[in-house]
């Protein structure tokens, strides 16, 4: 279909020396990350270190000033890129859920496939109901976001992204706005997804969770990656002093 050459032996997401500034404030100062298909990677780091900015660059919600990002071989920041091609591949879940408040939970899930992919409504509804069940929300199909708890809204948001059949999911501190009791139900949904083979990139402050599901953990500070590794070694053998300090505060 497209002339882009990509196969699964290459990284599905490749971030190479990315620089990003807001005006004069340089937020990303040369970040590189490779993600293979099916991998789950977690990005951790102190507030303001550029985690959200980085993850938003991956689906072109932010532009970049240097370096490159490719998703399945697509050059994300190529001005000629058809954004729709990118967004069909990459789903994103936000900290504040950002559901469409005027649509029911089921309609939220169905909207993009119908309006964007122009799929048949009956097929989409069937899939949407399955997704609602997958995130444990049977019976809430006809509730409006305003009638759902934070945890339930966040699971609808996950289902909504999944309805587009993405290859990669981005999660930006999706449990940060939730009560401790409801955090778990969202984490369970993400874990199921990760175990089903979905490529996931998560920004999270849930260290226990990161340790459990991540294949690789990256620690960012002031716009650079200062430490990374698989969880088994990352938490015990981190050599960078800033990482150790951060971990000691959090764990």
């Amino acid at each position: 279909m497209s002339n882009v050459q990509w196969d699964e032996s290459q990284p599905i997401v490749s971030i190479v020396d990315v620089h990003k500034s807001f005006g004069t404030l340089e937020v990303l100062k040369g970040v590189s990350i490779d993600v293979m298909k099916g991998e789950v990677i977690c990005i951790i780091g102190p507030s303001g270190s550029g985690k959200s900015t980085l993850i938003r660059c991956i689906n072109a919600l932010n532009d970049i000033q240097g370096g490159s990002i490719t998703v399945e071989g697509l050059e994300v920041h190529d001005p000629k890129l058809n954004k729709l091609e990118l967004r069909k591949k990459v789903g994103m879940v936000f900290q504040q859920y950002n559901l469409f408040p005027h649509k029911t939970a089921l309609e939220n899930v169905m909207m993009a496939p119908i309006k964007v992919l122009k799929e048949n409504k009956a097929d989409v509804e069937k899939r949407a109901r399955q997704l609602m069940a997958q995130v444990n929300l049977q019976g809430k199909e006809d509730s409006y976001p305003g009638e759902l708890s934070g945890g339930q809204q966040q699971r609808v948001a996950i289902a909504r992204s999944l309805a587009m059949n993405p290859d990669i999911m981005l999660f930006d501190e999706v449990t940060a706005a939730l009560d401790p009791e409801t955090v778990k139900e969202v984490l369970v949904a993400i874990k199921d997804l990760a175990q089903s083979g979905m490529t996931c990139i998560l920004v999270t402050h849930e260290m226990g969770f990161a340790r459990e599901i991540a294949d690789h953990i990256y620690f960012t500070d002031r716009g650079v990656i200062v430490e990374h590794g698989p969880p088994a070694t990352f938490f015990t053998e981190a050599s960078d002093p800033r990482t150790r300090e951060f971990l000691s505060q959090i764990l």
Binding site: L84, R87, M92, L99, F100, P101, P145, G146, L148
Partner: protein, 252 residues
């Protein structure tokens, strides 16, 4: 029954000469009132619809990436909001009306302009109310969180789809109370069409009381009552719409 009704007003006019409800017993005057009401209704309906369309399109253009498009919309708003609607009406009809081509009328020999006085009244009043509607919708749009629109674009919605599917439906609900006020004003402002001889209700009433000065009070009463009813219907319709579009668990 109808006979008795007319008879009552004939006698009332005999006993109290200032209260000559002539349109209730003289068919020709009644026909004038009916025609006036028809024009007022038609003007109101057309201007409400058009001004809302202008508001929606204008608010969309106001968010255009092009600086010039935004400036044009801003200029339009400033002009129509800051000048008297009556002057706008006269300007459209007398000044712009001169430049529109004319065609041969139905009688085959008179020249009639392609835009009639009624047409100009609809155009000028719609643009007048539309300028306010642009501002009303804009503030509604500003109330829609950026993050909600971002979620839509992350799902692959284009800028236009996001506007139609997400921004407008939410902005509409926020805008309804202000829109309500503006449309009420618009319906009342249709009476200014008398200035270019549109035969709406005020025009007909003035004609009647010029012909029959004894009918002055009754025609004025009729005017007030008609507009109270007309605006009442509009307000009722709007609040019904407001209730129908209320989102459970969202907003006030």
């Amino acid at each position: 029954m109808l006979e008795a009704f007319s008879q009552y007003f004939v006698e009332l006019a005999d006993n109290y000469p200032r209260w000559n409800f002539i349109f209730f017993y003289e068919p020709r005057q009644w026909a004038r009132i009916v025609k006036g009401l028809q024009y007022t209704l038609m003007l109101s309906f057309a201007c409400v619809i058009l001004s809302v369309i202008i508001g929606v399109v204008g608010a969309w253009l106001q968010n255009s990436p092009s600086k010039w498009v935004r400036r044009c919309v801003q200029g339009y708003i400033q002009f129509f909001r800051n000048t008297p609607p009556f002057v706008q009406l006269l300007f459209f009809y007398f000044a712009l009306g001169q430049f529109t081509p004319s065609v041969t009328g139905p009688d085959g020999w008179t020249e009639v302009p392609i835009i009639s006085n009624v047409g100009w009244a609809i155009i000028s009043l719609s643009f007048f109310a539309g300028a306010f509607n642009v501002e009303i919708f804009r503030s509604g749009i500003e109330a829609v969180p950026e993050s909600t629109q971002e979620a839509a674009s992350a799902l692959g919605f284009s800028r236009f789809q996001t506007y139609v599917e997400v921004v407008l439906p939410l902005a509409f609900r926020v805008s309804l109370p202000a829109l309500n006020n503006n449309l009420v004003n618009l319906v009342k402002t249709t009476t200014q069409a008398i200035g270019i001889a549109v035969p709406e209700l005020l025009y007909q009433c003035v004609s009647i009381w010029n012909d029959y000065p004894s009918a002055l009070y009754p025609t004025m009463l009729l005017l007030f009552v008609s507009f109270i009813v007309l605006v009442g219907i509009l307000v009722m319709g709007m609040s019904r719409w407001e209730r129908a579009t209320r989102i459970p668990g969202y907003g006030g």
